[in-house]
């Protein structure tokens, strides 16, 4: 597979072409400038060219914050590489700033001598003032350390669309595609993926598709003719394991994982949900999959959403509710009901910055303890975490497997970073997916609602409509085996112990924790959830530099893998990076009495690889680190 020459009709400008092993590009502009779309298009094209990639969207919680202001800036960062990468990178090599506010927010991140593309049309007095610039930064020496390329992107877009039937406002909205065309030129990418996408997306509004294609081509040709860049770049395809790939975002992977679990279990999928950032896309996506027999129910609130799912689980559906932190708090009482009546339920919490409403569009891992303990009484529940956008698919299947096999609600944790971030996904073969077939109880002989399977301690799933199995369940403590209401003290102790033993026993049904890297290293970096990419990236760099370091990643937060204590005991230092105040560290220290080096960050952003490397350096005092 090789990068094709761009389909340019114009004469090729005399510029050098340089091949890079990786590059980080950040598109930044006003919320209304379409930066998420622009970034996604660049991502899709790069994916099709075979690059490995990782993306990081960063947008405000407001739909349209005041135009031109700092809070209104929306950005999309993508890192593309010719090798296996794990994060969207920290500092961009290329920054596209569609207005002064976007420049102000991102310029400090741009690498020294990095490329800045600025839309000069927006660098006028009003916007400069809104962004807090007294002097136009494009006109003083403040950007001397960068390769600055200015272009009248708005003006040129309008000019390119002179003959378009669209009104001025609609034409103006195409300027992101002009910028995209410029970046396509800079990175020697073909435009056909985006053209095909536009034509499909605006099938019924061909004039919009046409305008955007025209703007994109205008941006491309502008670079071709004017030679505003001295160099063009290429990034070769990555050597990824063989197979068929697609680019995938975490929320989409959860949606597909649920469909897959429904098909592999033979149970109809029921999603009860209430819109909440950043989880709503799962509801949107599943609502489109009715041909898979999916029922999506947008409830009146978070509580009704989980309750409807519990009702569906009682009726024998693969029942799911999706939410984010504040929603999980609201659902707690109902989840506890599902726990005590021992019905299967998957609660997907796409974590975001907290507490309270917190930072709805920013990422965080601060609901781990809420997932573990955020219910009254002794309420043990399995917790499973996804570690990357594509891993969300497997994590979802695993959550569904545990829920139905053990008759227990399972909390599936993802977060805003992997929910909205994307990466190439090596598509699984359907026949290789786990078999999740479920048998409902049908035999009236000897039936008792709480007579447990000896091995799993799961109670029978006996659904309404089955003759002879009429029984009652509820939130009151129930008598062992019969399920009748019981206030007996010994029985309460027994049932509490049984519920705990059932969840603890899952440890025998999950893989042992695997240690990667140097088993004789002085330090283990132990992560969970979305820190996987930063940790892996950091460890690869440290090991390439000759430093001994090991890493391991937890998929199961409850119960922990059975060898976790033993693994921890092998290392002098255990570093746990978390986007919270040290929640996993607290669990580990409490459980294994092992001193943990907790590395916490709640800035609404994922860890950067270099931060992990720096931290390891501090702890081990190593000088081998780059």
């Amino acid at each position: 597979m090789s990068t094709e020459a761009p389909p340019s009709g114009k004469k090729q400008a005399q510029v050098a072409t340089e091949t890079l092993d990786e590059v980080v590009v950040r598109f930044a502009g006003d919320s209304g400038d379409g930066m998420q779309l622009t970034g996604t298009q660049f991502t899709s094209t790069s994916a099709r060219l075979g690059n490995d990639l990782a993306t990081l969207p960063d947008f405000p919680a407001e739909i349209r914050a005041p135009a031109g202001t700092l809070p209104g800036v929306s950005a999309f960062q993508v890192r593309i590489a010719d090798y296996d990468i794990h994060t969207p990178g920290h500092r961009p090599d290329v920054l596209i700033a569609m207005n002064p506010a976007a420049l102000k927010k991102s310029i400090a991140d741009l690498k020294p001598n990095g490329i800045l593309i600025a839309n000069t049309d927006e660098f006028k007095a009003g916007n400069l003032k809104k962004a807090g610039y007294e002097v136009n930064p494009l006109e003083d020496d403040s950007l001397a350390g960068y390769r600055v390329h200015t272009a009248e992107i708005t003006t040129m877009t309008m000019r390119a669309l002179e003959d378009s039937p669209l009104d001025g406002r609609a034409k103006n909205r195409s300027k992101n595609f002009f910028a995209l065309g410029m970046v396509y030129w800079l990175f020697s990418r073909p435009m056909d993926t985006s053209i095909a996408w536009l034509e499909k997306k605006f099938k019924n509004r061909p004039e919009i598709a046409e305008a955007n294609v025209m703007a994109m081509k205008a941006g491309f040709n502008f670079c071709d003719i004017t030679q505003i860049f001295q160099t063009r770049y290429e990034v070769d395809p990555a050597q990824l394991p063989p197979g068929t790939y697609r680019n995938i975002m975490g929320n989409s992977a959860v949606s597909m994982g649920l469909i897959a679990a429904s098909r592999r279990s033979g149970l109809p999928l029921f999603l009860g949900s209430y819109p909440i950032t950043p989880a709503s896309d799962i509801l949107h996506e599943l609502s489109r999959y009715k041909t898979f027999g999916v029922t999506t129910f947008q409830a009146e609130d978070e509580i009704a959403a989980v309750c409807a799912s519990i009702g569906a689980a009682f009726g024998g559906a693969l029942a799911v509710t999706t939410t984010s932190g504040p929603g999980l708090a609201l659902k707690a009482e109902a989840i506890n009901l599902a726990m005590i009546v021992e019905l299967p339920l998957v609660i997907c919490n796409v974590q975001r910055g907290g507490p309270s409403t917190g930072l709805p569009t920013k990422t965080e891992q601060s609901d781990l303890l809420q997932a573990m303990f955020g219910r009254n009484g002794e309420s043990p529940m399995p917790v499973v975490a996804a570690s990357s956008p594509s891993d969300s698919f497997d994590a979802t299947l695993e959550a569904c497997r545990i829920a139905t096999k053990y008759m227990v609600p399972v909390i599936l944790l993802t977060d805003g970073y992997i929910a909205n971030g994307s990466e190439p996904w090596l598509l699984p073969k359907v026949e290789d997916l786990p078999d999740l077939r479920v048998d409902f109880w049908t035999d009236a002989e000897g039936f008792a609602p709480y007579r447990r399977d000896e091995k799993t301690l799961a109670r029978p799933w006996a659904i309404p409509g089955t003759p002879g199995l009429e029984h009652r369940v509820g939130g009151l403590e129930k008598e062992d085996i019969s399920g009748n209401v019981s206030y007996d003290p010994d029985n309460h102790q027994r049932m509490t112990d049984l519920r705990a033993a059932k969840v603890a026993g899952i440890a025998d049904d999950i893989p042992e924790l695997e240690v990667h890297g140097d088993v004789d290293a002085p330090i283990l970096i132990l992560g969970w959830g979305s820190t996987h990419g930063s940790i892996t990236g950091g460890v690869n760099i440290m090991r390439a530099a000759g430093q001994k370091v090991a890493r391991a990643h937890l998929r199961h937060l409850n119960p922990f893998p059975r060898n976790l204590g033993e693994v921890l005991s092998r290392f002098d230092h255990v570093l746990v990076p978390e986007m919270n105040g040290g929640q996993l560290a607290l669990l580990l220290q409490g459980r294994y009495l092992k001193k943990i080096d907790s590395f916490c960050k709640v800035e609404g952003k994922p860890f950067f690889r270099d931060e992990i490397i720096q931290k390891v350096k501090e702890i081990t005092g190593s000088e081998h680190v780059n």
Binding site: M1, T193, T244, G293, E333, G465
Partner: protein, 345 residues
Amino acid sequence: MSTELPVLTRKDFQSDQEVRWCPGCGDYAILKSVQTVLPKLGIAKEKVVVISGIGCSSRFPYYMDTYGFHTIHGRAPAIATGLKISRPELDVWVATGDGDAMSIGGNHLIHLLRRNVGLKVLLFNNRIYGLTKGQYSPTSERGKRTKSTPIGSLDNPFNPLALALGAGATFVARSVDIFQKHLQGVLVEAAEHRGTAFIEIYQNCNIFNDKAFEFMTEKAIRDEQTLHLEDGQPLIYGKEKNRGIRFNGGELESFVLGEEGSQDDCVVWNAKAPNPAIAFLLAQAGPPDFPTPIGILRSIEQAAYEDQVVGQIEHEIETKGDGKLEDLLYSGEVWTVGNGDDASA
């Protein structure tokens, strides 16, 4: 189908659990009515599910030998909705009280009604919190002195029927715990309704709010204080059938037949009227100037929510075909690595 079913009796719907309401509680009478009616509906017992929230009335499922779910406070309508949507063939009943349904679960109730999910909602209205031992409820009359309002409550009460009508309910009725025959008649009508059937049942709590409905249940005055709504019949009441209900301007008024007007002046009852205006007036009518209406205030046909949910899914499958997991996973932009193939869209 009914010929296949075994003949069931009231006993078939009695569970082996000891009924633990206070002696003299109105709940016993309601339980008896439900257990009497269910065998007559021609429904297989295993298809009946009773779902409740929290409160005295919500212990109801434990005493029914059907599938049952005693859930959490106020949430029975939401849980029952999920069950009914995913299993439309089940016969799902919700047992709830005035605190459960009107207070903590008010939101779920109004949304259930607007959606018209095919559930039968039995609202046990005793106008008091019983299980928590005697605080005022959202249907308690203003000025109620209770443990939590020693010098009188300040809240205006909800009128459950008016609330249900306002929320767009398609079936709204009222009955009384001790009016067994009447209650059973209403239950049968409710069972046959597609969509949500909402039944307010006046229920006496003889411990914390005794005689709350004495104004209409007391034998000596019962006929004078109760207005039976019967479809197609003029609104006439009284032991001697000597009083009627008619319009006076925009208001309903009670008048003496023969003296102040004739039977022709009476409103002829029509629960199927598309406009709920008269039902709304009747919902709020009552003492001291008016008898308390009981019976079916509203019964209109409207598509049940679960049928529409299933309809959408069936239509999608019919027009687009059964979803294939492989097609879904491999949809969109995919590319192949390793066998020399170029990227393919």
